[in-house]
Symmetry: none
DNA sequence: ATCTATTAGTGGGATGAAGTGGGATAGAGA
DNA sequence: TCTCTATCCCACTTCATCCCACTAATAGAT
């Protein structure tokens, strides 16, 4: 179970160290992809395989599903965790999430999200404001 | 599983180097054909055989499927990966996808797509805009 | 609480592989 | 025969990867 929020730095070589707490759970091979709301998703390979299987089944005949497979598959990158617990962020993903310098890694159950620190703070603020309404929704769903 | 996005250059001899990460999966023989949305599709021969078989089984009577078969079959070219991991792009395909200079190679599960860099960026921008709706769809399909 | 040992996060140099460009050779087609 | 181009080969540059070093933080022991 990946939880917690960490502020790390993306160095000049595009390396990003994983929080020590994540390393065991994440393993040595990961897949990073474009996520939603301007962040990146990082999955352990095992988790990714499940997602990939479903994506493979999408027919390329239809324009909208074609766009979706391209967004998620071409937007993904396999990576290895190096000896120091770091991963390499490809240029195009770095650009997609506007990563530079300070970066937030957030554990979200089975994936890690990678955010530009500013974007993250902003997003949190927005979420906190709408937390009231959300609590209501969760309550209705019987979660809280 | 072919994933990721790479920016390479098509040289004056119409050679294009495959990303190192693709080479093992792709093998030495490939088939390149006209793709959808102004790009080229590149398949490992094994994958191509499967597609060709399916195309042959299409009812020949219908004008649209006949068109599709011609589009894919007549536009196909076999090619070998050379010692440096490069393939040769035939002139008519190069023209079809407006390739020159900088070119994007995108892994989409079982095929590699070859794009003019500008066209690709534009396409991506279009897709990203519809990402919100996509989240909904992905949720419905149980992918995320 | 203080001191010490170990781990985590970060930065930089060295090495090897990947991507690119160009010359030389051989073979196909005019 | 001559020309064009596919193919092979080599050279150069850039970047990923490995390794080591330094500092800050954490945990353990006294």
């Amino acid at each position: 179970m990946l939880i917690g929020e960490y502020l790390h730095t993306l160095d000049s070589k595009k390396r990003l160290s994983l929080p020590a707490k994540f390393r065991k759970e994440v393993g040595r091979k990961v897949v990073i992809t474009r996520g939603l709301d301007q962040c990146l998703f990082m999955f352990p390979v095992a988790t990714w395989r499940g997602i990939a299987e479903k994506l493979e089944k999408l027919p390329f005949g239809q324009a909208d599903t074609r766009g979706m497979s391209r967004f998620l598959l071409a937007g993904a990158a396999e990576g290895e965790v190096d000896g120091a617990g770091r991963i390499l962020i490809p240029e195009f993903l770095k650009e997609f999430a506007s990563l530079k310098g300070r970066v937030v890694l957030a554990g979200v159950s089975d994936r890690v999200e990678i955010w530009n620190d500013k974007t993250w703070e902003e997003y949190k603020r927005r979420i906190e404001k709408s937390a009231e309404g959300m609590a209501q929704t969760l309550g209705d769903m019987g979660i809280l």
